[in-house]
């Protein structure tokens, strides 16, 4: 369980996060969405203990990640957007780094690399950025962490690899793990993220499961323009419109449309999804 309580963080005078509170539960794959620069990376680095909170607390299983206690670090893997190669073969690198995570399995690392069709005997400094990313993703999952924080993991992956990534994440993470994956390429993670967290300038606009979202909002794909739509966009086959769900009928949640609808109706969404 991860508890974030009234978290605030500033880079010098610039306030990046303010009053962020949420509880993240085991067994869920959270999609952290938000425009560029809104604080997704900052939130992930704070969760990893790489930064110190300005105000408020973060507790992972009761521990403050900034303390960097090895007993907690062994359960976490943080995968940043940009990764650095090591001047050695991927297998050697994984072997020497894997000793620090008790759950690490070399077989699992090699297995996932094979799924990604990436040669583990290659020297990391000669890999393309996509191959390097896949190497790190394989390592992260092979550590079998309880808490996985990934910042834009599909950045730099070609299209087949993105699809492979979705399957790999689902297959190789434990049922009780908490995953937080940030992205601004929503389509890359469509169908695997649930719940959805939408972060905006310094606050959380939405934190809800797909089920709850489809109960409170209706996504219409027809041709008839609906009044009171929270957001509408013309698509080749018709429209996509987001309205309040008054009929109780569930529809397929389109995350991009959801994102836009939330941004255009911040106050309404907050009230709609408030749990008070």
């Amino acid at each position: 369980m991860i508890s974030i309580d009234n978290l605030a963080f500033s880079y010098g005078p610039k306030e990046v996060l303010k009053n962020i509170s949420m509880n993240l539960e085991p067994g869920k794959i959270y999609g952290l969405l938000g425009e560029n620069g809104v604080g997704k990376t900052t939130l992930l680095t704070l969760l990893s203990g790489l930064k110190k909170t300005g105000a408020g607390t973060i507790r992972i299983d009761g521990h403050d990640p900034y303390k960097r206690e090895p007993s907690l670090l062994e359960k976490i893997y943080y995968l940043p957007d940009e990764v650095a190669p090591s001047p050695e073969r991927a297998t050697r690198w994984a072997k020497s780094k894997g000793v620090f995570w008790p759950g690490f399995s070399m077989d699992k690392f090699l297995g996932i690399m094979a799924e990604f069709e990436t040669d583990p005997s290659q020297k990391m400094t000669t890999m393309s950025s996509g191959q390097l990313k896949k190497t790190y993703i394989s390592f992260a999952l092979a550590c079998n962490p309880e808490f996985i924080f990934m910042d834009e993991p599909t950045n730099g992956l070609d299209i087949p690899s993105k699809a492979q990534f979705r399957q790999t994440i689902l297959r190789h993470t434990s049922m009780d793990a908490i995953l937080v994956i940030s992205t601004h390429q929503v389509r890359d993670l469509e169908n695997i993220i649930d719940p959805i967290i939408i972060l905006d300038k310094r606050e959380v606009l939405l934190n809800a499961s797909l089920e709850e979202i489809s109960q409170k909002l209706y996504f219409d794909y027809g041709n008839v323009i609906l009044p009171d739509s929270l957001y509408s966009e013309q698509l080749p086959g018709g429209f996509i419109q987001v309205v309040r769900n008054t009929s109780g009928q569930e529809s397929k949640v389109n995350i991009e449309a959801l994102f836009n609808a939330v941004h255009k109706n911040k106050e309404l969404v907050k009230t709609l999804f408030s749990h008070e």
């Binding site: 869920k28 169908n191 695997i192 649930d194 569930e250 529809s251 397929k252």
Partner: protein, 112 residues
């Protein structure tokens, strides 16, 4: 698996499983993959697949044996067929008739 836009994904997955039972690909009494496995194969969050399984369970098409997994019910085919027949009679036929009427087609001329 490709998903179209009109129905919630969990319903589309349930439909897909139902179709596979109808076609004989999945047989009554057979064990189906766990929620995680199925999700992993098609790239969908287990929560969503869980709702599909719940839907199918409620209809009696599959059942859960605790500790072992989900299985296709022995009478799954019957349940599905009867549900499909009901749907055909209650939804598809009226829709068909209405469409013929809109187009001004006299059905009696075309049906033996």
């Amino acid at each position: 698996m490709e998903f179209d836009d009109n129905k919630p994904i969990y319903i589309q997955i349930a439909d897909n499983i139902t179709a596979r039972i109808l076609s004989g690909e999945l047989k009554p009494g057979e064990r189906i993959p766990s929620v995680r496995e199925w999700g992993g194969n098609i790239g969908v969050n287990p929560n969503t697949v869980a709702r599909s399984y719940e839907l199918l369970s409620n209809k009696g098409i599959i059942f859960n044996q605790r500790g072992i997994g989900y299985f296709i019910a022995a009478d799954a085919l019957d349940i599905i067929s009867s549900a499909e027949r009901t749907k055909f009679i209650q939804e598809e036929i009226p829709a068909f008739v209405e469409r013929a009427r809109l187009l001004g087609i006299d059905l009696k001329k075309h049906i033996q």
